[in-house]
């Protein structure tokens, strides 16, 4: 959904990056607008009109070639993470902290869906960051995680990393 929305830049502007925060702006459409911020990071604010409510805000780190986004859907208590491209050091080292921040204050028993289908195999920094995040998931209130991968090498890398932490047992691959 984030991808679809990102392709349709609509007049929704928001600066509140708290997951699940209610948008205060009037909105009759759904869409996203990218706001370039210092340090070559892009914050993607996603708003969606759904029965009078507004959906979560997706934060995006990186650019079109390589990055990730994270957001929380309160309707399903699911944290959505999407990752793509070949991560440089800056994106890789931001991954665990930014996703952890995106999970702050979640209701216990939330779930996480990671769409890693466009992520290429990671260098050391990315592997370390992914491993740290997986180890933190129970503390963050995530009861189970589903990871989607299309690149088999990426899947092999993530499978191996998940197998090195106890919380890896809470992860399913599709």
């Amino acid at each position: 959904m984030a991808t679809k929305a990102a392709r349709n830049v609509l007049p929704v502007r928001h600066t509140d990056r708290q997951p699940g925060a209610r948008c205060s702006l009037p909105c009759s459409n759904f869409g996203a607008e990218m706001v370039r911020s210092p340090g070559d990071r892009t914050v993607e604010v996603l708003s969606r009109c759904l029965s009078g409510r507004y959906s979560p805000h997706m934060e995006r780190i990186g650019d079109e070639r390589a990055g990730f986004s994270v957001g929380f859907d309160p309707a399903t208590s699911t944290v959505h993470v999407r990752a793509w491209g070949f991560w440089g050091v800056e994106v890789a080292t931001a991954f665990d902290s930014e996703v952890s921040n995106g999970c702050r204050g979640l209701p216990r028993g939330s779930t996480m869906f990671m769409d890693m289908s466009e992520l290429k195999p990671m260098r050391d920094e990315g592997q370390l960051s992914f491993r740290r995040l997986i180890g933190e998931l129970p503390r963050l209130g995530i009861k189970d995680t589903t990871i989607r991968t299309d690149n088999q090498l990426t899947k092999l890398q993530l499978l191996r990393l998940a197998g090195t932490v106890a919380a890896g047992e809470l992860i399913r691959f599709t």
Partner: protein
Amino acid sequence: MTNDEQAVIDATARFYDAIEKMVSGQGLEAMREAWHHTDRVTGGHPSGNWSEGWDEVWATWEVFASFGREDRGGSSISGLRAYVYGDTAYTTCVFQASPAFGGDPLACTNVLRRMDGVWKIIHHHADKSPSMGAALERIATGG
């Protein structure tokens, strides 16, 4: 066989020696030596998608190397042929994956470039091998 053809054959053989070292747990130094390290190298493995540029290519070899172990060697090649066009050449062969890596015979093409008088790999492509992916998934999940 010309001297250039022999040099290309030797460089390709070093690349496949590097694969055998990698799968048998001897690390990636030989693999690093077999490649030119530029943004204009590419790779396509039996598993996964294309990788572009040395950093991406290297990351893919690191994934395979993470499955390397002393008792997982046993790969080989046959029918290695070289075709030289100036400072660029390509080779073809059949790579026999080691049993631990699925054991499939895979048709392979490698492109080599002579830079500073040294032939090294700039492109590698192997057939897709679902059995290799399945074998490595079993290892990754402890099965």
